[in-house]
């Protein structure tokens, strides 16, 4: 086979004078800009100041596209200041089935995210209404569900059932965690059992689906909320889009599996923008509070 480089035009200094910087010579440029000062919105292609977006809760100030935000920022955004009390925060995963490379992955995820697992549980208040809450963490192995994630979510539902609290759960997940094999899959059944028992005790469960919520999490507690809401544009599905494309060997239509599509198909109650969520959830909690029944 001929080398590809044979077909490339030779570099001619006279032609490409502007493009190629000569060694040692500084390229003529404006003031230096730090890499992360601006971000590009993938939706409207606008260049935005990172600080502006951060201040706007990770939402594009031009088109309203919802960027990913850190789990701690979400907690601060949603709950009354200082009301959050973390629970089961010391639980860490172990390599239960000796899966190759899992220990290293866990270490990396811990140092990268600064969290011990892919879900944070606890209690908190939203405009004065108490709730048990869980926030999945997409920065920890893509929010995948292993035994610890399953256990923590089960525990928080059990706690809420015992203490007569509603549960608000934010999901973001690539699905069950492969590295824990069948034990991960079983967490789908386990968490579903806990959701069921919390429900039978009369508890309210609101699931908030964020981008992306897929696989075993969609096929268990994400779809089991009494009320299911979603952030705009969030990908929600059982099989991921790439897997579907490989299976059916055709391109998926625009907007397929997005939150708007899920509302249209009847699987999500409403789309609620990030900045509205606190107000929205507070209203729902108040409507379900025991005092309202008197």
């Amino acid at each position: 086979m001929l080398k590809k480089s044979l077909f490339q035009k030779p570099e001619n200094r006279l032609e490409t004078y502007e493009k190629i910087p000569v060694k040692g010579e500084q390229k003529q440029q404006g003031p230096e800009i730090p890499d992360n000062m601006f971000i590009n919105c993938p939706s409207c292609r606008e260049t935005l100041l990172s600080a502006d977006v951060k201040e706007n809760n990770g939402v594009c100030i031009k088109c309203g596209n919802h960027f990913k935000i850190g789990v701690r920022q979400r907690i601060n955004m949603l709950l009354d200041e200082g009301s959050f009390v973390g629970m089961y925060g010391d639980m860490t995963s172990r390599n239960l089935i000796d899966f190759p490379g899992y220990d290293k992955k866990l270490e990396e995820a811990t140092s990268k995210s600064g969290e011990k697992e892919a879900v944070i549980c606890g209690t908190g208040k939203i405009k004065g209404s108490s709730a048990a809450i869980f926030f999945m963490n997409g920065d920890f192995m893509m929010g995948s569900m292993g035994t610890v994630v399953g256990e923590k979510i089960t525990l928080i539902f059990e706690y809420a059932a015992a203490n007569d609290l509603p549960v608000i759960g934010y999901t973001i997940s690539g699905g069950a965690r492969m590295q824990e094999g069948i034990l991960s899959l079983m967490q789908m059944a386990k968490t579903s059992g806990a959701v069921m028992r919390h429900g039978e005790a009369g508890g309210l469960y609101i699931a908030v689906l964020t981008n992306p919520t897929t696989g075993g999490v969609t096929a268990s507690f994400a779809m089991e909320g009494d009320i299911i809401i979603s952030e705009p544009g969030a990908l929600i599905g059982f099989a991921g889009p790439r897997v579907i494309e490989q299976t059916i060997r055709q391109k998926l239509p625009q907007g397929f599996q997005r939150a708007e599509f899920m509302v249209e198909k009847g699987f999500v109650d409403a789309i609620v923008e990030r900045k509205e969520q606190r107000e929205y959830l507070s209203k729902l909690l108040k409507l379900h509070s025991k005092e309202m029944l008197v």
Partner: protein, 279 residues
């Protein structure tokens, strides 16, 4: 004589038969499918169709029949034998309406106090546009919740492939029994290899690492029984006889439990998986 099927007798051989070989066997041509089990275990079988919402999923056969003299509900994923049949059955990959069809039959079983036998053999729930549109995730999730509180005994029998959520959607059961060469996994070995190692040829390593054989599942406390298989497929008759007795005994025993006890045990079976001690 029936003791030859006792799992302990064959366990010693496990080390020299690799996991991938079992996966291959579970998919082998000519291996009995769900319908073969119905034909051999159940008499007076009456097939009942449809989920009452969307349609009838041919990938799963549901109905009522007799196990010895006991009325039972049977829900069996069917892959089909011939190519034509396989296409008709969608290769045993269920759509959401399949899970809803199964759930409808389970609810009927509960109403008339019939035990439920789920026969599982699927590479996974179907991934396609219609399956997503009709809520594959929601359908499976609903089955997990409803099976957890179904007030009648459930046994899930894995006869071949046990692919992820698609299998679990029929396997929140009091007892999970597996044929010796069946597997049950969070992801197919091919899928695991291509996602983790970007190389679907590493399937053998993936199969071994995922711990997906019946023996692994028993070690991990997820399967209760392993049904050893005869070397020759023609001798499968013996398995049917054995299973008939086994299922009948199991359901007779569970009749002695109160509903509350039955449900408590089922909950606990799944609750204990991955429980962290000392909390």
């Amino acid at each position: 004589m029936k003791n030859i099927f006792d799992s302990s007798v064959y366990e010693a051989d496990e080390s020299d038969v690799r996991a991938y070989k079992r996966v291959m066997t579970s998919r082998a041509k000519g291996r009995p499918t769900g319908k073969d089990y119905i034909d051999n275990l159940i008499s007076d079988f009456i097939e009942l169709h449809g989920d009452r919402h969307t349609g009838d999923d041919p990938a799963v056969i549901t109905g009522i029949g007799k196990l010895k003299n006991m009325p039972v509900t049977v829900i069996a994923i069917e892959k089909g034998h011939s190519t034509k049949e396989k296409i008709k059955r969608n290769f045993g990959s269920m759509h959401p309406e399949g899970y809803r069809k199964a759930l409808r039959q389970m609810k009927l079983a509960e109403k008339f106090a019939r035990p439920v036998i789920c026969i599982v053999d699927t590479s996974g729930a179907y991934c396609g546009i219609e399956a997503e549109e009709r809520g594959q995730g929601q359908a499976i999730a609903e089955n997990l919740v409803e099976m957890m509180r179904l007030k009648t005994p459930i046994v899930s029998l894995f006869i071949g492939e046990g692919g992820s959520g698609g299998a679990l959607g029929l396997a929140v059961a009091d007892k999970v029994w597996m044929l010796e060469n069946s597997y049950y996994s969070v992801i197919s070995p091919e899928g695991c290899a291509s996602i983790l190692w970007k190389d679907s040829k590493k399937m053998k390593e993936a199969a071994q690492s995922l711990r997906l054989t019946a023996y692994d599942l028993k070690d991990l406390g997820i399967a209760e029984k392993i049904i050893t298989e005869p070397e020759n497929l023609k001798d499968f008759k013996r398995i049917y006889y054995f299973l008939e007795d086994l299922l009948f005994d199991e359901f007779s025993k569970s009749k002695e439990l109160s509903t509350q006890e039955l449900l408590e045990r089922r909950y606990e079976k799944f609750r204990k998986i991955g429980r962290i001690q000392g909390l």
